[in-house]
Subunit: 313 residues, 2 copies
Amino acid sequence: MQELVRKALSGDTRSIARIITLVENESPYTEEIMKTLYPHSGKAHIVGITGSPGSGKSTLTDKLIHEFKEKGNKVGVIAIDPSSPFSGGAILADRIRMQKHAVDRNVYIRSMGSRGSLGGLSKSTYEAALILDACGKDIIFIETVGVGQSEVDIMKIADTVCLVLVPGMGDDIQIMKAGIMEIADIFIVNKADREGVERVVAEVKMALDLVQKRSWIPPVHSTIAEKGNGITELAASISNHHEFLSISTEGLEKRRNRLVTEVEEILQREIARFTEEKWNQKKTPELIDSLYSRNTDPYTVAGRILEEVLLEN
Amino acid sequence: MQELVRKALSGDTRSIARIITLVENESPYTEEIMKTLYPHSGKAHIVGITGSPGSGKSTLTDKLIHEFKEKGNKVGVIAIDPSSPFSGGAILADRIRMQKHAVDRNVYIRSMGSRGSLGGLSKSTYEAALILDACGKDIIFIETVGVGQSEVDIMKIADTVCLVLVPGMGDDIQIMKAGIMEIADIFIVNKADREGVERVVAEVKMALDLVQKRSWIPPVHSTIAEKGNGITELAASISNHHEFLSISTEGLEKRRNRLVTEVEEILQREIARFTEEKWNQKKTPELIDSLYSRNTDPYTVAGRILEEVLLEN
């Protein structure tokens, strides 16, 4: 395993890919791998790209990859797909246009399913980001689909959160006002050739005025990702925010909070694993029958299992 | 507490509201309340309404409330909002138009934030549905925003899942093909006065043909919720599916699986609570410092805490 890790640390794409696969599949080597990689991590700039389906996140990410690569950066991308609970399949259509980077040694793109029952975002996302970080990527983009919980989760992993909006989807602004406003460090109004772009930009700025003041004032960019318009300015903003984090107490706080989250995530997963095992032994058809007939209730059943996990081990 | 529960069981709206608040805030009475209510549950028809932001879910739900109320049903609504991890706030704008039902004794509407860090959908959604069920609601609508994990989660709670689409949002079909296709029992193409409605209906039907055959063939409805068009037919489909579940093995399986999920949800929450408590005791600034300086790593720290949890208790 140490040889594989060594090769990954030297930047070998194949070894990196294999290590992520091992960790994603919860290989028993995960702990060893991650402990070895950990001291090498903490240098990359992790950038979250989030927004509604159809907002053009993938195209935007594609252009940003190009932009940062041109500046001599090693780029990593983690694309999280909503996957079927049945087939485990992921949407690959959007990824195809990114494939042209795939032959490039300095760009590594990984699609991950949001598989997990326990914990929203793919449990492996954090590990994948950490692996790419340790293996020498300078900037790592994490792209998520959907609005809601995943935005909150991405925030915990990312240094810089970009929220992508498009004109003509009224609810976005609503959602933003409710909370995502506070999460995003950079706002992007994409498809800026559509009608209503000025209104969206104005609404975002207005909403920002109402939000609690921070030392970083989130810029609002208009882009037409398809044509590459506004990408250079956006990339500059992303780098600015990175610079800001490195010199501000806000940046330090963010990094420290992320460490707390990291430990919490591992703890929860491990304890959940224990409990799942126990529950799998217990959930007999007879037990389900007695729940079904209301002879017992889920609280009583769960209480008994919990007690056993904590007493027996 | 038993008096409050008794009044809620008799259908008293105020008592129901108070009980949901207690449970939502993780009152220590939760277990007692839920155990008392549980034997009275299992009768309501739980209907999930899901779809992208801007698809008109709230308007649709509003019309369905009216439709089912007219038929003499007691109606419950749980609207789940993406809320800020900071303010805990929820989007209420869409809810306002539902307020006219609020004075109605036979309709109970509850907005819930998707607060939780742990576990995707609001942890209290299941409890709120169970409370409304036990307290005599005949039909309960659960409305979720967003595409992704929440669809999967809602499926676990709902008897009948309605997926709302709109013409002109191409990515929806993509996402649907990837998995939500298999989740939905009823498809709704809303805003059917827009261009492209026939294409969306055709695409859904085509995609349904490719999906694994089930004994229930999901109908595809066109609606214009704003004008009330197609609502009666949709309501009939929802009732049909309920009827189907009550006589099919698929329905029995669904209810039994839900019981398994219920126990799992409780277990997860309890474990998370436990872990958090333990971690809060341990996470000193010094420990975070040594993580920050890479003198130790999250895996080592988590491993030590885990050991303590499993040995000490």
